[in-house]
Amino acid sequence: MSATVDWPTETMTYREALRLALREEMTRDERVFLMGEEVGVFDGSYKVSAGLLAEFGPERVRDTPISEEGFVGAGVGAAMLGERPVIEIMTINFLLVAMDQVVNHAAKVRAMFGGQVGCPLVIRTPNGAGNQLTAQHSQSFDGWFAGTPGLKVLAPSNPADAKGLLKAAIRDDDPVLVIENLPIYKEKGAVSLDPELLTPIGRATVARSGSDVTLVAHSFATVRCLAVADRLSERHDINAEVVDLRSLRPLDVETVAESVVRTNHVVCVEEGWPTYGVTAELAARVQNVCFDDLDAPVERVGLAEVPMPYAKNLELAALPGEDRIEAAVLHTLGAA
């Protein structure tokens, strides 16, 4: 995200950056309104929308009953008539009950009717695990939505992109799923106050440049990879590059490939299950486009393939922790 001269930056949390994006866009465009469970009176279950009800009133910050299928679909209909609904789903796990409206309605509107009607809908929801939320509440279905033509899927890993991508999503004319993340909500970072600064959709970024190995990730896995990169340089004198995808659809394969061409080694990391997951697509594309550049197979690290257990020690073992990512890097370099 290119910095601007005129506008100052401010240090704030990922949560505050999202709130700022919402406030700026609601101020800029009357058609933008929020809808979801507990977004108003309760200030949002993760407090992203805190204060917005007081500022914009109940017509623009609309509390809903527990009816995800109903209000996601209502968002689709409102968007078809030119409104700009921004829907909050408490966690991505609950999108399972609204799957039909997202995949078979929002994603189909424009193409199915010959391009006559659009669906400028935004759905915000956090993925991820880590607080012993157990099997039904610790999932990341990112790849399912990213594999659905008609949808766009974004996944910011830091406050600056959280603001820039959410604003870009709200201004986009297609249905966009913005995947937030539970562990990152409290993370702080510098965020530009420029109300016109957007993070481009479909552009990955090199979050840390390096020369020995490329770590590709999105959302919280990027945070893990950055920590692992530091560890690698300290402990093993390995200089890792970290590519933060930011967009899963459109997927910026070029930025990943440009990195791999230089490092010749790549480890793809995700917070969800890797089998049939996001890292599968990354590996498939990298091996194809960088076939002659790879000195070792593309490695993947993700959540252990089990419904998330409650016990803290089991949950920690299941998560794609820094140790497992580090081991995968050493393995791929060793195999070089």
């Binding site: 109903g70 679909g73 689709v76 209909g77 078809m80 199915m112 009717f113 391009g115 997927l251 070029e254």
Partner: protein
């Protein structure tokens, strides 16, 4: 938009009443002829996919549409040919869509189940049972947000009332006081399942009470009765933001879709019983009794036949969509730029098929 524009929200009771009814009769005949021709064309393999006909349900379709204003919005399920025609979508554009041609009302992308005409306030044409209810409810929410004095008419079938989407949509509409009327076309069956075998409360309109919402039932084969009830409920929705359920009792003459003979779950006798009170014959008889001339009616019927024949000629003449437009309209204009860096390593042939043709142009 002949159909919708010329119709008042209430059938007039004075001299112009006869003319009004003749117009409605012409729409009913047009729909019946269109469906008959669609089945013929389907069997001639010029129409594909799922094709659901509404023969027998014309009084409900035309009656409800006669009560809609141009500013109202219409949403339907997959059995939607009649709704498109009654809303004023030209038969040519509907038939061309069934043929999958460029001049179809959905550019050949949607087919029989996914007709749409945004200019005429017709928002589809949806294929997932009850999936159109949340969408229609959101359209009503948008009407309120935009301060428009208009209502949404959302059609669904008797089988759709057992889907969770029905429950969530009606609760939202009642809770938020949205201007919407849910039209439940009770044609006795959802595919091969009778209402009694599907709904624990077979008086479907009574289910509105679960949301403290008004519900009522009318004879769906009685044009005047349907028009009157729809007019009353739509006015109420427009002016007082009171949602409602309108159940119309009617009957589907043909199979569930053209692929279904429609006899595994009902008898020929049952079908002919209903055909005895055919809404077209009912309406025709009353018109004659009320002073319409036999000649006038015959010329109406002839015009309808001509319009359908012309629609077939038009559809045949309309070109197929061009192959390089395969991915057009999947995303909004300008999206190609966002997808520019997605090409490398994608599946074989993807570039040519998807990226080269343009995604949003």
């Amino acid at each position: 938009m002949s159909a919708a524009t010329t119709s008042a929200s209430q059938p007039p009771t004075d001299a112009s009443a006869l003319r009004w009814r003749l117009e409605r009769y012409e729409q009913m005949v047009l729909i019946r002829q269109f469906e008959t021709e669609a089945e013929r064309q389907y069997k001639a393999a010029r129409i594909g996919g799922y094709c659901h006909l509404s023969s027998g349900q014309e009084a409900t379709t035309v009656g409800v549409l006669s009560a809609m204003r141009e500013s109202d919005l219409l949403v339907a399920g997959y059995r939607c040919h009649g709704f498109a025609l009654a809303r004023g979508v030209p038969p040519n554009a509907v038939m061309a869509e069934l043929f999958g041609r460029r001049d179809g009302c959905a550019r050949g992308r949607g087919g029989s189940m996914h007709l749409l005409d945004a200019e005429r306030g017709f928002f589809g044409g949806w294929g997932i049972v009850a999936g159109q209810l949340p969408v229609a409810t959101g359209l009503a929410l948008a009407l309120v947000r935009q301060g428009r004095t208009a209502a949404v008419l959302c059609e669904l079938g008797d089988g759709a009332v057992n889907m969770g989407a029905w429950h969530e949509s009606l609760n939202l509409a009642a809770l938020w006081q949205l201007p919407i009327v849910y039209l439940v076309i009770n044609n006795a069956y959802g595919m091969g399942t009778s209402v009694e075998r599907a709904s624990a409360e077979p008086n479907l309109y009574k289910r509105a009470a679960a949301f403290a919402m008004h519900g009522e039932r009318v004879d769906g084969d009685d044009l005047q009765a349907v028009s009157e009830a729809a007019g009353r409920l739509l006015t109420r929705a427009r002016e007082q933001r009171l949602p409602a359920v309108l159940e119309t009792l009617t009957y589907r003459y043909r199979g569930h879709s053209v692929a279904d003979a429609g006899l595994a779950y009902r008898t020929r006798e049952e079908i002919s019983e209903h055909q005895a009170s055919d809404p077209l014959i009912q309406t025709r008889t009353r018109l004659l009794a009320d002073g319409a001339g036999e000649h006038e009616l015959e010329s109406i019927e002839h015009r309808a036949l001509e319009a359908v024949a012309e629609a077939v000629r038009f559809a045949e003449a309309s070109p197929q969509p061009e192959l390089n437009t395969l991915a057009r309209g999947v995303y909004a204009p300008g999206s190609s730029e966002q997808f520019a860096r997605m090409r490398p390593g994608s599946a074989y042939g993807e570039e040519r098929l998807v990226f080269d043709g343009g995604l949003g142009e």
